[in-house]
Subunit: 135 residues, 2 copies
DNA sequence: GACTTATATAAGCCCCGACTGACATAGTGG
DNA sequence: CCACTATGTCAGTCGGGGCTTATATAAGTC
């Protein structure tokens, strides 16, 4: 499974998000995620497995607990993959900076795409598994 | 469809890769991709649609041609999303630097994950639609 | 206008990934 | 030991995404 496929799932993104704050036990993560997404414990465990199998996390046993932590390797690879495209916006920013500096004002790109936040809302006061309208 | 889902497909990554070199007509991209992945024209057209609908590309009509070009917006969002995790490797590099400087040598992480290149091989000398084992 | 090129859409099939419920396996504490 | 907690795995269902074939729609060409 490709790194992007792994990150394609909102649950897995949320889990990484939680682990970003530091090591956490599977059950700890599970509790939060289960409530937020309304899924079962096995479901979470399977997501943890996917993350584990794909190198996104490292696990450490402490008694019966499994302590998960972020392994940045695949994320770093994505960062490297992005490198090829980075010029598209750094360039744009540079140009913007230049234009601002010169006070130019002409070709104004109509900001076609609307702001599409990365995650609609990682929150979830008993959030159902909406996503319905999503697509 | 989430940005990561869009990038999860190798065909779409390849298309973006092609467009990174500059604007290209749908058919032009199609020819290459069809040969490399062994898929039909409609299949490619559908991938182009997904990229379009999700803001990864911009299209411009020139006669019967549709000229596609990269729209970096969603890629930039991913870049921003990565920000939260970036410290994990920049930090690691810093630490590495520090350790090297001090000549320390203790907790040696066993380099668990093997190198997983982002894309196995965008090549394709008459490449069959291997990938068979793929999805 | 008829024919061909360029590209997209529609309908339908199929596989894979996400979920659930049932169960297995270790630790933990009385 | 036994009950309970913590966590993972298995088998099976279901829906959606990706593919194909067929077809529509413009635009060039003669």
């Amino acid at each position: 499974m490709h790194a992007f496929d792994v990150l394609g799932d909102p649950v897995r993104r949320r889990i990484l998000d939680l682990l970003a704050d530091g090591e956490r036990a599977a059950g700890e993560v599970g509790g939060i995620v289960q409530e937020e997404f309304g899924i079962s414990q096995p479901a979470v465990s399977q997501h943890l497995r996917v993350l584990r199998d794909n190198g996104f996390t490292q696990v450490r046993a402490e008694g019966a607990r499994r302590l998960y932590s972020v392994d940045p390797t695949p994320l770093q690879e994505i960062d490297m993959w992005l490198e090829r495209y980075r010029r598209f916006w750094t360039q744009r920013l540079d140009a913007l900076g230049t234009e601002l500096a010169r006070g130019r004002r002409e070709r104004r790109q109509p900001t076609t795409a609307k702001a599409t936040p990365m995650d609609p809302s990682p929150q979830g006061p008993s959030a159902e598994k909406d996503e319905s309208t999503n697509r």
